[in-house]
Amino acid sequence: MFVRGLKRKCFDGEEDIEGTLTGIKAIPSYNLQRQSLLDMSLVKLQLCHMLVEPNLCRSVLIANTVRQIQEEMTQDGTWQMINTQSTGQASLDRLVSTDILCRSSKEQAEGKHVSGYSTFNKDFEGDQTQDSSETMSTASSVQAPRNLQSNVWEMENSQENKGNFQKSLDQIFETLENKSPNSVEDLFSEVDNSYYDLDTMLTGMMSNTKMGHCDGLDTFSSPAPTTSNSNCKSDLNELDHIVEILVES
C-alpha cells in the first residue's frame, strides 16, 4: 500500500474544537473536517475492489466510521440527500465510470453492474425504491430539511473549493445507499455473492460459507462438509465451464 507523506495536516487536533468556539466560524470548520473525513472514507471503501481480496477488517472499520459520521450528521440535521436533482446529468457519467472501475471483473461478467446502473437511473429520476435497508429510511427522513440547508451547503462548497469532486463523492455514497439491496452487501460480501450465485446453479453443492451455519453437534457427526469440499474440487471443471459461459455472455 502506497504510504503517503504527512504533509497535509488534515485537521489534526480535532479535540481542540471544543476549546475554540469562536461562534459561527468554528461550526463550519468542524463540519468541514467531518465532511472531509467522510469523503476520504468513501474513497477508501471504493478503492477496496482490487485483484487481491480486500482486507475485511479494514473495510469494516472504515464502514463503521462512515456510519458514525452519517449518524452524527443525521442528528445535526446536516445530512444531505444531496443535490441529486440540481447537479444534473453531467456528474452521472463520471459517477458511472467510477462505479464500473470499482466492480470486480466477475461481477461485470455476471452482468450485475448493468442492473445496478438501471436501479441508480431510477433513483436519479426520483423514484423511491422498495429498498428496506435502515440507511435508506434514515436518509429519506431528512429530506425535508434539505432544502433549507441547501443554500448553506452551496456556501460551504464554494468556501471549500472542492467543487465537483465533493459532489460526486456524496453521490457515490448515495449510490451505495440507494442501490439494490445486494450492492451495499458488496462492500463485504462480493466474495460470498459469487459463491451464492454458483450455488443456485449447481444443485447439491454446499459452499464453504455454509459450513459455519451447521448446528454444533452436526459438525462433529456429519462428514458432509468435508465431502462437499472434495466435491468442490472435482466440480472445478464444471465451474470453469460455467464461468466461461458467463464471461462470454
Binding site: M1, V3, R4, G5, L6, R8, K9, C10, F11, G13, E14, E15, Q33, R34, L37, M40, K44, L51, V52, E53, N55, L56, C57, R58, V60, L61, A63, N64, T65, S104, S105, K106, S133, P181, V184, E185, F188, S189, E190, V191, D192, S194, Y195, L198, N208, T209, M211, G212, H213, C214, G216, L217, T219, F220, P223, P225, T226, N229, C232, V243
Partner: protein, 420 residues
C-alpha cells in the same frame, strides 16, 4: 530479501523462524557454546530455508491468494525432528524439519550412484554401513490443511494437548487435529446472516497455555472473549467478556479504529493476557473482565495525528506484542524502526531503534526518545520526523533468556543482554 511477516522462537529458543511476504520460511539456529570462540555463543545462523507457500489463484472468485506467511507456530519437540505450522491467508501447512548427517553405503542391489547392479555381478551379500556426510537440513510438508476458511486467516495457535490447534479468520475459528487434514470443526462463527449487519471481525485468537479447553479471541471493537470448549460445541457464547469502558472525554471518530485489537497473547503463567491496540498495550487479569490491570502507552504522541494516519492507512497497521520468559517484561513495536519494552515490576520503559545506522554489531543500544512538543533536546527526534514506512510489527522474545528478535521490514535484528 523480502518483507518479514512473522517471527517466532521455538520452545527451547534454539531455533528462530521467520516468514516473509514471498512465502518463504527461514529458520535460524543458535550456535552452540564453543570455548575457542566465546563470542559466538548466542549467534543465530541460517539453519534452513524453504518455500512454504506459493501464490495461488482462486478461479471461482477471480482473486489472487497471497503467498505471504501470516503466522508461524512451532510444535513442542517430541523427537529429533522439528515441526512447525505456517499459514497464509487460506492454507495451513505442517512442516517437518529434519537433519541428515549420515548416509548409507554398500547397498547390495544398487551402485553408489544409484544405478541398479547387474544381478549376475552380485556374488556376496554385505550389510550397508552408515557413513558421515555433510549436514543436510531437509524441510518437507507433512500435512496440508486447506479449504476451511472463506476469509483471511489471521491466527493459528497450538493447543497445550499437542494434538489440536485452532485457526482463526475474520469471522470464524476452526479447530483442527494435527493428524487430520480433511476435516475441521467450526468453534466460533460471528458471520451475521445478513452481511450488511457486519460491524465486528475477529482479529486474533490463542489457546490458553495450560488449559486445553480454553481459548480467547479479540475483535475489531476492542473486546476479548474467553471461551470454554466444554460448555458447547459452537462457542458463540463466551464464558468471559473483557472490555474496558470507553473514556468519553477522548472520544473521536477514530476511537473505534484505534481500539481494534491487533494481537492477543497469554502470559507464560496463564494468569494474564496482553492485548495490543493502536496506541497502547494492556495487560488483563483473566479474573477481571471490566478493565485491564496495566496499560502502557506505546506512542501516545500519535493521538493528535490520527487523521493523517487514517489518511495514509497507517492507522490500520497491526502491531504484535510479546512477553519475556518470566512475564516480567513486555515488548512491542512502533514506527521509525523503534520498539518499546516495558518492565512490569519497575514500571520503567525504554525505546530502542533497530537500524544499521544507529548501532554497530555488539554495540549497546542507545535509548531513543521522541520529542512531543516544545523544544527538541539533543538526540531527541520530533514526531514529524518519524518515518512511518519503517514499522516494527513483529517481535519475538526468547522463551528463557533475554534475547529478542525484531523484524524491521526486510531485516531481522537479534539483540541480547550484554554479557560481561
Amino acid at each position: 530479501a523480502d518483507i518479514i511477516s512473522t517471527v517466532e522462537f521455538n520452545y527451547s529458543g534454539d531455533l528462530l523462524a521467520t516468514g516473509d511476504k514471498g512465502g518463504r520460511v527461514v529458520i535460524f539456529q543458535r550456535e552452540q557454546e564453543n570455548k575457542s570462540r566465546p563470542h559466538s555463543r548466542g549467534e543465530y545462523n541460517v539453519y534452513s530455508t524453504f518455500q512454504s507457500h506459493e501464490p495461488e489463484f482462486d478461479y471461482l472468485k477471480s482473486l489472487e491468494i497471497e503467498e505471504k506467511i501470516n503466522k508461524i507456530r512451532w510444535l513442542p519437540q517430541q523427537n529429533a525432528a522439528h515441526f512447525l505450522l505456517s499459514t497464509n491467508d487460506k492454507t495451513i501447512k505442517l512442516w517437518k524439519i529434519s537433519e541428515r548427517d549420515k548416509r548409507a553405503e554398500g547397498y547390495n542391489l544398487k551402485d553408489e550412484d544409484g544405478r541398479l547392479r547387474d544381478p549376475f555381478r552380485i556374488t556376496s551379500l554385505r550389510v550397508p554401513i552408515l557413513k558421515p556426510m555433510d549436514l543436510m537440513v531437509e524441510a518437507s510438508p507433512r500435512r496440508i490443511f486447506a479449504n476451511a476458511h472463506t476469509y483471511h486467516i489471521n491466527s493459528i495457535s497450538v493447543n497445550s494437548d499437542h494434538e489440536t490447534y485452532l485457526s482463526a479468520d475474520d469471522l470464524r475459528i476452526n479447530l483442527w487435529h494435527l493428524e487430520i487434514t480433511d476435516r475441521s470443526f467450526n468453534i466460533v462463527d460471528i458471520k451475521p446472516a445478513n452481511m450488511e449487519e457486519l460491524t465486528e471481525v475477529i482479529t486474533a485468537a490463542e489457546f490458553h497455555p495450560h488449559h486445553c479447553n480454553v481459548f480467547v479471541y479479540s475483535s475489531s471493537k476492542g473486546t476479548i472473549r474467553l471461551c470454554d470448549m466444554r460448555s458447547s460445541a459452537l462457542c458463540d457464547r463466551h464464558s468471559k467478556f473483557f472490555e474496558e469502558p470507553e473514556d468519553p472525554s477522548s472520544r473521536s471518530f477514530f476511537s473505534e479504529i484505534i481500539s481494534s485489537i491487533s494481537d492477543v497473547k497469554f502470559s507464560h503463567s496463564g494468569r494474564y493476557m496482553m492485548t495490543r491496540d493502536y496506541l497502547s498495550v494492556k495487560v488483563w487479569d483473566l479474573n477481571m473482565e471490566n478493565r485491564p490491570v496495566e496499560t502502557y502507552q506505546v506512542h501516545e504522541y500519535l493521538r493528535s495525528k490520527l487523521c493523517s494516519l487514517y489518511e495514509n492507512d497507517c492507522i490500520f497497521d497491526k502491531f504484535e506484542c510479546c512477553w519475556n520468559g518470566s512475564d516480567s517484561a513486555i515488548m512491542t513495536g512502533s514506527y521509525n524502526n523503534f520498539f518499546r519494552m516495558f518492565d512490569r515490576n519497575t514500571r520503567r520503559d525504554i525505546t530502542l531503534e533497530a537500524s544499521r545506522e544507529s548501532s554497530k554489531p555488539r554495540a549497546i543500544l542507545k535509548p531513543r526518545k521522541v520529542c512531543t512538543g516544545g523544544k527538541r533536546k539533543k538526540d531527541e527526534i520530533s514526531v514529524d520526523s518519524l518515518d512511518f514506512n519503517k514499522k516494527i510489527l513483529h517481535t519475538a522474545w526468547h522463551p528463557m533468556e533475554n534475547i529478542i528478535a525484531v523484524a524491521a521490514t526486510n531485516n531481522l535484528y537479534i539483540f541480547q543482554d550484554k554479557i560481561n
